[in-house]
């Protein structure tokens, strides 16, 4: 009756598959978030007008930036959600320990990031098609309009990596909050405080450096390495910090 050989790998696999089904609502919220983003973008993300005499030239800009930004936010909050009490408790209804739960969560988040990256970039493609029919092809310039499979893969990959980063950050913040409720106040304060100081000051060396570490990396391989490294640190810390947390209190 007593079964042995319940390896970590086996349990992680079971939990991962379970979560793909269990957390499906998160994918629904992804769809909604992206549809809203597409609607926002449909009006253009910026414009520039110029003219002289009786000629006025108005150029409207479009991009999938808003879609990607919304998806990044989604990824962050989805990761936070997974660390909340109800979700952690659910992990222990069947089989699992904290390690297997965390690993399966991370596996899920990576999968979700891939899905998010894919749909976000394709959302931009959908936008292009919509504009083709609403504005007419003559009024559209061909810069960055056509998207080849290669363009798609590059964009999906880059977005995927940014989403993983967002998830890792969200998960880490979520775990911090589980450890102490004080973080519910500390973390947003830190975030907005930094925002305000950075926008007010001309130079903000430390924040700049941290931000640019990822964002200004122009070599794709280095970028890949940096993202994996940072995500590993964040996820790893989350794992260590949450390993003694109690559940079902």
């Amino acid at each position: 009756m007593f079964s042995t050989g319940n390896s970590l790998l086996e349990t992680v696999k079971k939990q991962y598959n379970f979560k793909l089904r269990l957390y499906m609502n998160l994918f629904i919220s992804l769809v909604v978030v992206q549809v809203i983003a597409i609607l926002f973008t449909a009006g253009g993300t910026g414009s520039y007008g110029t003219g002289t005499g009786n000629i006025y030239f108005y150029e409207k800009f479009y991009s999938s930036n808003i879609i990607i930004a919304f998806t990044l936010l989604w990824a962050f909050f989805a990761a936070v959600l997974l660390t909340t009490r109800d979700y952690r408790d659910m992990d222990f209804v069947f089989i699992g320990n904290r390690l297997s739960s965390n690993i399966s969560n991370m596996g899920f988040l990576v999968t979700a990031s891939l899905a998010g990256g894919f749909t976000a970039v394709l959302g931009g493609v959908l936008l292009r098609v919509i504009l083709y029919y609403s504005l007419g092809p003559y009024n559209i310039l061909s810069d960055y309009y056509f998207v080849s499979l290669g363009d798609l893969s590059r964009a999906v990959l880059a977005t995927f990596l940014y989403l993983i980063l967002a998830c890792a950050l969200g998960y880490f913040c979520g775990i911090l909050v589980q450890l102490s409720k004080a973080f519910v106040v500390i973390l947003p304060a830190l975030f907005f405080g930094t925002l305000i100081t950075v926008s007010a000051m001309e130079e903000a060396h430390l924040v700049d450096y941290v931000f640019n570490f990822i964002v200004e990396e122009s070599s794709f391989t280095l970028f890949l390495v940096k993202v994996i490294f940072t995500a590993a640190i964040l996820f790893g810390s989350s794992l260590l910090l949450s390993n003694r947390l109690e559940v079902r209190k």
Binding site: S3, R21, F94
Partner: protein, 300 residues
């Protein structure tokens, strides 16, 4: 063989001491009733066994290992209580299907059968169920999982009497067919005692007694008679309970260590001897204030 070994187990929640130097062993393939007042520490104990909570001091071993963060223990154990965090987005039948994917001993036929018997629609959602039906579903999961260690914390909460009866019967039948170690905590000892083998009584976080149900049923004896006579009889005996029933009639409960001869004496003195149910006995044993609730009304 002891499945669960507990030595001086202590659990604190901040300043509150929930478990206090608790020591006991649970043998394999037994049904043990975990009894005690509200707040005595029953749920806490079960959750520590399940690996959900951490102990503060002492030792607890399930299958020889610390149950906290233990995959082996988790894979062979299931914990059911009245507010299980069941998935909100899965239908009942889907939850059962996932149960079968996780647990190697899962019996899907029993699960489906019970689901049907209790008129639970497979396509419904757990959050839509009434309290009683939620508990019913939870115990279906608990029974069908056939885990070598099955922990049930007040599983009958919200169930009506008929359903409770069915539940005891189902649990017993499956237990007899597929033996496992079961620990059930319940207030309704009278109802559940028929399926129990052992009883573990917890009082204020510590073990009060741990014995077979049959022993417990004969542990105490009730004496009904006049106060003066009773006071004489109980000299030297362990008294569990004193109660005034009417004018000059008192009811005392003492530990049953009486020999036949003493019994005769008591009867001759005009005192009535009554058996004490396990449930009543546990109530007396875990009583707080001396004098019972009457003392509130007697202005003492």
């Amino acid at each position: 063989m002891s499945i669960i070994e507990c030595r001086d187990l202590t659990k604190n929640f901040g300043k509150i001491r929930a478990l206090n130097n608790l020591s006991f062993n649970i043998e394999e393939n037994t049904i043990t009733g975990l009894v005690g007042r509200n707040g005595a520490g029953k749920s806490t104990l079960l959750k520590i066994m399940a690996g959900y909570l951490q102990k503060t001091e002492g030792e607890i071993k399930v299958w020889g290992e610390d149950p906290f963060n233990n995959l082996q223990v988790s894979a062979n154990m299931i914990f059911i209580d009245d507010n299980m965090p069941m998935p909100q987005t899965l239908s009942l039948i889907e939850i059962l299907e996932w149960g079968s994917k996780f647990y190697k001993n899962w019996d899907m036929d029993i699960a489906r059968g019970l689901l049907d018997y209790f008129s639970l629609a497979p396509g419904h959602f757990h959050s839509h169920l009434s309290r009683g039906l939620k508990s019913t579903f939870n115990v279906i999961v608990g029974i069908a999982a056939r885990c070598p260690l099955t922990l049930l914390d007040e599983p009958t909460t919200g169930m009506d009497a008929a359903v409770r009866k069915d539940f005891y019967r189902a649990l017993l039948k499956d237990y007899l067919k597929h033996p496992r170690t079961i620990i059930v905590s319940s207030h309704l000892l009278n109802e559940i005692q028929d399926i129990l083998e052992e009883v573990l009584l917890i009082r204020e976080g510590a073990k009060y007694l741990h014995m077979s149900i049959s022993d417990l049923k004969e542990y105490g004896i009730g004496l009904l008679g006049k106060k003066e006579i009773l006071e004489k009889i109980i000299e030297g005996e362990e008294v569990f309970h004193r109660e005034e029933l009417g004018k000059d009639t008192y009811y005392y409960v003492i530990r049953n260590t009486l020999k036949d001869q003493k019994v005769q004496e008591i009867k001759l003195a005009g005192v009535e001897i009554k058996p004490v149910t396990a449930e009543d006995l546990c109530v007396y044993l875990t009583a707080g204030k001396k004098g019972g609730i009457d003392s509130v009304f007697n202005g003492k």
